[in-house]
């Protein structure tokens, strides 16, 4: 069980690290979002403790970034009175939120709760028949052969896969993958879905159109 602690203050990191280690969690540290992204790319992380206020790449940006493709639970640390509305991309199902100053005991309790709740940890790959996604490697395979997806196509696919059997509106997709500050055309999604379908070849029909709503990924074998 490995935690990533992202905070620019070494003192805070040390405190968390100390307490976490008494509970036998491994810890990895990062000073800012950029560093954290690097680590996420290369290591399997089970939970992230994330400070919102940081230089270089702040917590929110980092959060939106990783939520595009990964589903690692996150505990957010923020100063009291910070603006709540910045907390976009925050996934109510898997994440939690604590205000500074916090009691280490409470943090540990929440860590425990989240890890328990999410039971089986974030898998590092997805597989359905000959379709395979290797999350750490950012790669997708069809029948053993790697297919080359652009970033948006990959993000789309990941989001679809983690929301199997759920109809996703264009807005939802835009917000989650493009970010809340994208003000372009809805239909750009259609184009990306088209490309993704083409690239999925024999698996193209796993993405179905939900007319009037958006798209849905499902492996159900209906006619």
């Amino acid at each position: 069980m490995r935690l990533l602690i992202v905070d620019d203050e070494k003192l805070i990191r040390d405190v968390i690290k100390t307490y976490a280690e008494t509970e036998n969690y491994e810890t990895v540290e990062a000073e800012n979002g950029l560093e954290a992204l690097e680590i996420i790319k290369n290591q399997k992380i089970d939970l992230i403790v994330l400070d919102i206020m940081m230089p270089k790449m702040d917590g929110m940006t980092f959060l939106e970034e990783i939520k595009k493709t990964q589903n690692i639970p996150v505990i957010i640390l923020s100063a009291r009175n910070e603006e709540y509305d910045k907390l976009k991309g925050f996934d109510l199902g898997t994440d939690d939120y604590l205000t500074k100053p916090f009691s280490p005991k409470e943090l540990l309790a929440r860590i425990k709760a989240i890890l328990k709740r999410s039971g089986k940890m974030t898998p590092d790959n997805y597989e359905y028949k000959g379709l395979k996604i290797d999350y750490p490697g950012h790669a997708v395979y069809i029948d053993g052969k790697e297919i080359k997806l652009t970033l948006k196509e990959y993000e789309l696919l990941c989001y679809f896969v983690t929301n199997e059997n759920i109809a996703l509106s264009r807005n939802q997709l835009l917000n989650k993958i493009w970010g809340y500050d994208f003000f372009g055309d809805d239909r750009t999604i259609d184009t990306h879905v088209k490309m993704l379908r083409n690239n999925l070849g024999p698996y193209r029909n796993l993405i179905t159109t939900v007319r009037g709503v958006g798209y849905k990924f499902s492996v159900k074998e209906n006619e």
Copy 2:
């Protein structure tokens, strides 16, 4: 499922609103107790999120006021260290409280728990015999086989199902499903009901005609 959010800080209301909407709750806002009372009078509210400290009419007064006549569950928000024993009218069976600052996740979890407890929770699917609606998937199944409904047919069915045994006028249906800005013909509903009935096959008679009024969905086995 409609929540009333009562808080004098717009920021807090916005945060709650944002998160509540991701869970598909409708939200109504009020700045103070007086406003909230007005709303309660005129709308059906399933749960109230209530800040205790407010100008004009504070949360406590409001709480006592509505508890006299209604039994809507309430989640109370209060600053840490406020005296809880002042919480008159607080019903331990149906209500809950949270201290600020709170985690949105926790609030939503409590909302869900309370709604579930009070039997009001919208489940994410509906089932009656071989008729099944999968809300997240926007899909309807009859005896295990998916039937393809158009958006309007699907919306109609959902609205019927959530208003079982209630006669719905054409106007009501138009307003809810078509929106208040639709100025077309009433009878278009008849056509959609016709199509929906056809698609429901063996379950077509769950939608009965209420002559002079509109339609009604009911599972009662009459005549």
